[in-house]
C-alpha cells in the first residue's frame, strides 16, 4: 500500500483582512489583517478588556501556528504579523494545544503593555 501523505491546507490564516490605508507595502507573507472594520469614529477610543493576546517572536512563527489545524480555529483575529487575538474562553484550550504541540509558551496575566513579567505566582497567586 502506498503511504498517503496528509496534506494540510496552508493557504489562509484564520482571519485575513486587508489593511485599511496601508502606510507601507508589506510582503505577501506578512500581509495579514491589521485592521478590523469598522474602526471607531475619530476621537473615540475603545477598550477591549479580558481578551487573550498570543504573541510570537517572529512573523514566521505566527504563520506556522495559523496553519496548524489545532491552533487555527482558536484564533479570533490577527492583529499584526506577530500578534493574534484569542477569546478568553479559548485561552485554556490554546495553551493545552500549544503544549501538546511541543511548544513551551510563556503565560502572563493581567494587563498587556510592557508588563512582561508577572509577580512570582508561587508566592502571590
Amino acid at each position: 500500500m502506498p503511504r498517503v501523505k496528509k496534506v494540510i491546507e496552508t493557504s489562509t490564516p484564520a482571519v485575513e483582512l486587508p489593511a485599511v490605508e496601508p502606510k507601507t507595502k508589506t510582503s505577501p507573507k506578512t500581509q495579514i489583517g491589521v485592521s478590523l472594520e469598522p474602526a471607531p469614529p475619530t476621537g473615540r477610543v475603545l477598550a477591549h478588556q479580558d481578551l487573550t493576546v498570543l504573541e510570537v517572536a517572529d512573523a514566521a512563527d505566527l504563520h506556522s501556528l495559523l496553519v496548524d489545524p489545532r491552533v487555527k480555529p482558536l484564533i479570533l483575529a490577527v492583529l499584526s504579523s506577530t500578534q493574534a487575538l484569542v477569546l478568553p474562553q479559548n485561552s485554556k484550550t490554546l495553551l493545552e494545544v500549544l503544549r501538546k504541540a511541543g511548544h513551551t509558551p510563556k503565560v502572563l496575566s493581567e494587563g498587556g503593555g510592557s508588563a512582561k513579567t508577572t509577580p512570582k505566582t508561587g508566592t502571590t497567586a
Binding site: 476621537g43 475603545l46 479580558d50 481578551l51 487573550t52 504573541e55 490554546l94 513551551t104 503565560v107 508588563a115
Partner: protein
C-alpha cells in the same frame, strides 16, 4: 483601644492619680510620699511609668497610651452558671470552716477566701499532687491551660492521677453533665471545686453525661482557666521542681526498625504538588473518594510513588495545600480541588523541619478524613482527634532504643491511652464502676499507619507465623520525631521572640544550614540530593526538576525541558534557576546542563500568551500614536491598537469575559445589520465570514463557509452577539454549506389527485405504485411506475385527466386514510403535533382514561371504554411525563382530553 493624654496638661501627682483610677499602679511611685512625688519632674515620672506593662509611650510625641487590661478571670463572675450543689463544694474547698447550707452564705464564704491570701495559701498547701501540678502549669501559662495537654503532661511526668472516679457521672458542673471518660473524671474534681473554670460549655469535658462522641475537638473550647487570685497566691509559694518526662522502661530488642526520612516525605509531597500544578485541578468523586482513573493517571507519571500517592493527596487536602473549588465555579459535578499556591509558597519560608511538624499537626486534627481505620478498632474511641492527641502525648515516652510494639502498647495504655479513650455506655449501672475497653488495637493501628508513614516511629516486622495478624513489630523513634520536636521548639521560640527581639536569632539553630551544598548535579541531567542536609531553600530549587526515586539517604531528580518550563512558569527566571542550582551544587554546574537550560528558557520566550489584556483601539494610527505619548507603559500593536495596563477614563469598554452585547440583527432572508457599537469579536467574525451586500447590510459568504473558515470560534463569536433568533433557513443553509448534511434532492414527480385518492390507494393493484400521501386527496406516484399505474387504473376502468385542481375537498369518513395501529406513543405524538400544525383532523380509535379509587382512597388511572371518532386536535399537554392531547370532536364540538398512549389506531385526515 489606647487612651492618650498629653503630658503637658497635667502635674506628676495628677498623672499618677489619673492612671491609678484606670488601674495603673506603679509600685515604685506608690511607695513614695506625696512630697517626694511633688519633687519629681514629669519626665522622671514618665520614665517610671514606662516600666508598667500597660503603659505605651509614643517616642515621637511623648503621648502616654494605656493598653486595655488583660482579661482577669474571677470565679465569682461564673456564679450564675454554677448550681447550689457545686457552690457548696467550692465553699468546702476554699473555706472549709463554712458550714452553711444557704447559697448566698456559701458564695460570700468563697469570695472571702479568694480575697484572703492566707486562706488561699492554706487551700493551696492542701492540694493533691495532680491538682498542684495542674495549677503550676496554669501559672506558667498565665492562667490558662488546655485540658488534654494537662493530662498529657501529667502522664508523661508520672504525676499520680486520682485512681478512682471520685466524681459521679450524674453530677453536673457549670450546669453541664460530665463526659464519660477517665480524663473528664480526673479533671471533674478540679472543675467541681472551682479550681479550674471551663472556657466553654462545648468543651469535650462535657457531653450529656455519656461520652464526648458528639463533641468535636477544639483546643479553644477545651481551654481551662484558673482564678487570678489563686494564681497570685500560688506565685508566692515556693515553686515545685519541674518533673522530667519518664520514658517507658522496656528491654531493648535487637532489630533495626526503619521509617521514611521526613525529608523524603517533603520531597514526595512536592512531587505530588507538581503533578497537580501541571493538571490544574484534582477531581474527586461526589462522595469525596479519589477517582480511580485520576489516581492511575497521576501514578503513571510518578510510578515510584506507588500506594503513597493517595496518602499524600489526603495530606494535601487535610492541610489546605489543595482547596476545594466552590461548586458554582466548578466545571463538573465532581468535587474539584485546586492547588493553594499561597500555602505552598509558605512551605519554603521556614525550616523544613518546622513545615513538616506543622503539616503533621494540621493533618492529625483535620476534619478531612480524620480516620480511615476499620470500625472494629473504634470501640472506645469517640473522637479521633482526641485519640491522636493521646498518641502524640505518648511519643516522648518511647525509649531511644528499639522495643517491642506490643510491650510498648501494654505499658502505654494504662499510663496514657486510657485517658484519651471513653467509657462504654452503661445505662443500667451508671453509679457503678464505668466500663472501660482496651483501645490499644486502635493506637496500634495509628502507629502502623499514620505515625509510620510520617516517619515519626520506625518499625520492623517480625514474622511469627503464616497469618499476618500474628506479626509482631519492633518500634523505635524515627527521624520524624526529631523534626517534630524541632518544629515545636521553633514555634515556642517564635512566640518568645515576640517579646524578646533577640529570639529570632535563635530560630536559626533549629534548621539545617539553608546555604549548605546538598545537591550533586551531574552532566546527565540528574541531580542527587542528600536528604539529611536538605533545606527548604534547596527543596524549592528542586522544583525545576522531577524526582525519579527516593532512597534511604538520597533522592534522584532529573532536569527536563518540561520541568524547567514549569519552574519558569511559576515566576522564576533563567538567572534564578542557574544561580539557585549553583548555590546548592557540590560541584561546578556542568556546562552542557547550563546551555540546555538556557536554550529551553529561550524557547519559552518565542511564544507568549498574555491573558486578561486591555487592548485599546483608535480610529487610526495617527490618533493611536498621539494618544500613546500620554500613556505610561503602553505597547503599540498593529496599526491602531495598543496594549495598556489601565483603561483610560474616556474609553468605551467592551468586556469579553461576560455575556456580550447583542448587536447583530438577522432578517428572514439571512442578511443582517449591525445595531450599536460592535466589539472586536463581532467585527472579526463578520470580517472572517460575511460580505457586505449593500451599505450596512451583510450576508454570510457561502464560499467562505465551504472553505471551512466558519470555525467554532467564529460561530461562537457571531451567534453570541445575535439579537433574537437566527432564521431557521440560515441555520439549514449553514449546515449545507459546511457539508454537514447531504445536498437536497429535486426530481420531477407525478401526482395522483382525487377526493378518494387515499381510498383508491388501498386497492392491491394500485397500492404498490404510490408513495405516502401528501394529503388526503393527493398521492405522489413512484418514479417509474407512472405507466404501470395508468395500465392498472385502466384495467379497473378508470380514466385519468391531466387537469390538476388547486383545491379538492376530501370526503369525510373512514375511506380517506387507512388507520395506523401499533404505533408507539412518541410517533403518535409527533403525528398529532404535525396534524395540529397543518390544521388537519384525526380519525382515532382510543381507550378512554378513567380514574378508579382503591379501597384506601388512592386514585388509580386505568383504561376504560373504546371509542372511535374524528377529532380536531388543539394542543399536546403533559401530566408529569405522560403526553395527552386536547381537542374537540368534529361532530358536536365536544371537548376531549385523550391520553396518547391509549390510542389504538390513528389516521390524519
Amino acid at each position: 483601644m489606647s487612651q492618650n493624654s498629653k503630658q503637658q496638661m497635667v502635674s506628676p501627682r495628677d498623672l499618677i492619680r489619673i492612671l491609678a483610677e484606670r488601674g495603673i499602679v506603679v509600685a515604685e511611685l506608690n511607695a513614695l510620699s506625696a512630697r517626694a512625688v511633688d519633687q519629681l519632674t514629669l519626665p522622671q515620672v514618665v520614665a517610671m511609668l514606662s516600666k508598667h506593662p500597660r503603659i505605651e509611650i509614643d517616642p515621637k510625641t511623648g503621648a502616654i497610651g494605656i493598653a486595655p487590661p488583660q482579661k482577669v478571670i474571677l470565679l465569682e463572675a461564673f456564679f450564675d452558671r454554677i448550681a447550689a450543689d457545686q457552690i457548696k463544694h467550692i465553699a468546702t474547698r476554699f473555706n472549709p470552716t463554712s458550714k452553711s447550707k444557704l447559697l448566698a452564705d456559701n458564695q460570700k464564704a468563697i469570695i472571702k477566701a479568694l480575697n484572703t491570701p492566707k486562706m488561699l495559701e492554706v487551700m493551696l498547701l492542701n492540694l493533691a499532687p495532680f491538682e498542684r501540678f495542674a495549677l503550676e502549669l496554669a501559672l506558667a501559662d498565665e492562667g490558662r491551660l488546655e485540658g488534654w495537654q494537662l493530662i498529657a503532661a501529667a502522664c508523661q511526668s508520672g504525676v499520680e492521677l486520682p485512681k478512682n472516679a471520685t466524681v459521679s457521672s450524674s453530677a453536673t458542673f457549670y450546669r453541664q453533665s460530665l463526659s464519660s471518660n477517665p480524663a473528664a473524671r480526673i479533671l471533674g474534681v478540679m472543675l467541681r471545686d472551682g479550681l479550674l473554670i471551663p472556657n466553654s460549655n462545648g468543651a469535650s469535658w462535657f457531653g450529656q453525661g455519656q461520652s464526648f462522641q458528639s463533641a468535636e475537638y477544639s483546643p479553644e473550647e477545651d481551654r481551662l482557666f484558673v482564678d487570678q487570685r489563686v494564681l497570685n497566691a500560688l506565685a508566692n509559694l515556693p515553686r515545685q521542681p519541674k518533673l522530667p518526662v519518664l520514658p517507658l522502661n522496656l528491654p531493648e530488642v535487637q532489630a533495626q526498625p526503619s521509617a521514611p526520612h521526613p525529608a523524603r516525605i517533603m520531597i514526595e509531597l512536592a512531587e505530588v504538588m507538581k503533578l497537580i500544578l501541571e493538571d490544574g485541578i484534582l477531581a474527586l468523586n461526589k462522595d469525596g473518594t479519589f477517582a480511580k482513573a485520576g489516581l492511575t493517571r497521576l501514578r503513571k507519571r510518578r510510578p515510584w510513588l506507588e500506594d503513597r500517592l493517595e496518602f499524600y493527596l489526603e495530606v494535601m487536602i487535610a492541610t489546605d495545600l489543595l482547596v476545594q473549588i466552590p461548586e458554582n465555579r466548578s466545571q463538573s459535578q465532581k468535587m474539584e480541588f485546586a492547588p493553594n499556591l499561597v500555602a505552598w509558597a509558605e512551605i519554603y519560608n521556614a525550616p523544613l523541619s518546622v513545615r513538616f511538624s506543622d503539616m503533621l499537626v494540621f493533618y492529625m486534627f483535620s476534619d478531612f478524613r480524620t480516620d480511615v481505620s476499620p470500625t472494629s478498632l473504634r470501640k472506645g474511641i469517640a473522637d479521633v482527634a482526641i485519640a491522636r492527641q493521646g498518641m502524640i502525648a505518648a511519643l516522648p515516652l518511647f525509649p531511644k532504643h528499639p522495643v517491642s510494639l506490643e510491650l510498648a502498647l501494654k505499658a502505654l495504655w494504662p499510663r496514657i491511652f486510657r485517658y484519651y479513650s471513653t467509657y462504654l455506655q452503661n445505662y443500667f449501672y451508671r453509679e457503678q464502676t464505668p466500663l472501660e475497653v482496651d483501645t490499644s488495637p486502635y493506637f496500634r493501628h495509628e502507629i502502623l499507619t499514620t505515625f509510620h508513614e510520617f516517619g515519626i516511629l520506625a518499625l520492623e516486622k517480625i514474622e511469627k507465623g503464616s497469618q499476618s495478624d500474628k506479626s509482631e513489630y519492633v518500634v523505635a523513634v524515627g527521624k520524624g520525631m526529631e523534626w517534630m520536636a524541632q518544629g515545636i521548639a521553633f514555634h515556642r521560640e517564635e512566640l518568645l521572640s515576640e517579646t524578646a527581639p533577640s529570639g529570632s536569632q535563635n530560630n536559626q539553630n533549629n534548621q539545617n544550614n539553608p546555604a549548605e551544598k546538598c545537591l550533586l548535579i551531574q552532566p546527565n541531567f540528574e541531580i542527587l540530593a542528600y536528604l539529611e542536609p536538605l533545606s527548604s531553600a534547596a527543596l524549592e530549587v528542586l522544583q525545576c526538576a522531577d524526582c525519579l526515586r527516593v532512597d534511604a539517604q538520597t533522592a534522584t531528580f532529573g532536569i527536563t525541558r518540561q520541568s524547567v518550563y514549569r519552574y519558569l512558569e511559576m515566576g522564576n527566571t533563567l538567572e534564578t534557576v542557574l544561580a539557585a542550582l549553583e548555590q546548592f551544587s557540590i560541584t561546578p554546574l556542568p556546562s552542557n546542563l547550563r546551555s540546555s537550560v538556557s536554550e529551553w528558557a529561550g524557547r519559552r520566550e518565542r511564544i507568549t500568551v498574555t491573558e486578561h489584556t486591555i487592548l485599546l483601539e483608535y480610529h487610526n494610527q495617527k490618533e493611536r500614536d498621539t494618544a500613546l505619548l500620554k500613556i505610561f507603559s503602553a505597547t503599540p500593536v498593529g496599526e491602531r491598537f495598543a496594549l495598556v495596563n489601565k483603561v483610560p477614563k474616556e474609553a468605551v469598554v467592551h468586556f469579553y469575559s461576560s455575556a456580550p452585547s447583542r448587536t447583530i440583527a438577522f432578517k428572514p432572508d439571512g442578511t443582517f445589520t449591525l445595531e450599536g457599537g460592535s466589539d472586536l469579536a463581532a467585527r472579526a467574525a463578520i470580517a472572517a465570514v460575511a460580505k457586505e451586500v449593500r451599505a450596512g447590510v451583510y450576508s454570510i459568504d457561502s464560499e467562505v463557509v465551504r472553505k471551512g473558515q466558519f470555525n467554532a470560534t467564529i460561530r461562537e463569536a457571531l451567534m453570541a452577539r445575535v439579537k433574537g433568533k437566527v432564521p431557521l433557513s440560515l441555520e439549514a443553509l449553514l449546515t449545507l454549506w459546511e457539508g454537514k448534511a447531504p445536498p437536497p434532492s429535486m426530481a420531477p414527480i407525478q401526482l395522483f389527485q382525487h377526493e378518494y385518492a387515499v381510498a383508491l390507494s388501498t386497492h392491491p393493484a394500485l397500492a404498490e405504485h404510490f408513495l405516502a400521501p401528501l394529503n388526503s386527496t393527493t398521492l405522489p406516484v413512484k418514479q417509474g411506475s407512472e405507466k404501470a399505474l395508468e395500465v392498472a387504473l385502466s384495467d379497473l376502468g378508470i380514466m385519468t385527466t391531466n387537469a390538476f385542481r388547486k383545491e379538492v375537498k376530501a370526503v369525510s369518513g373512514q375511506l380517506l386514510t387507512p388507520m395506523q395501529t401499533g404505533l408507539d406513543t412518541r410517533k403518535m405524538r409527533v403525528m398529532i403535533e404535525s396534524a395540529i400544525e397543518q390544521k388537519r383532523h384525526l380519525d382515532l380509535k382510543y381507550e378512554e382514561e378513567v380514574t378508579l379509587y382503591s379501597r384506601y382512597g388512592y386514585p388509580e388511572k386505568t383504561k376504560g371504554k373504546i371509542f372511535q371518532e374524528q377529532i380536531i386536535p388543539k394542543k399536546v399537554v403533559y401530566s408529569g411525563s405522560t403526553p395527552y392531547f386536547v381537542g374537540s370532536t368534529l361532530e358536536g364540538n365536544n371537548a376531549r382530553e385523550i391520553r396518547i398512549g391509549y390510542i389504538l389506531g390513528i389516521a390524519v385526515i
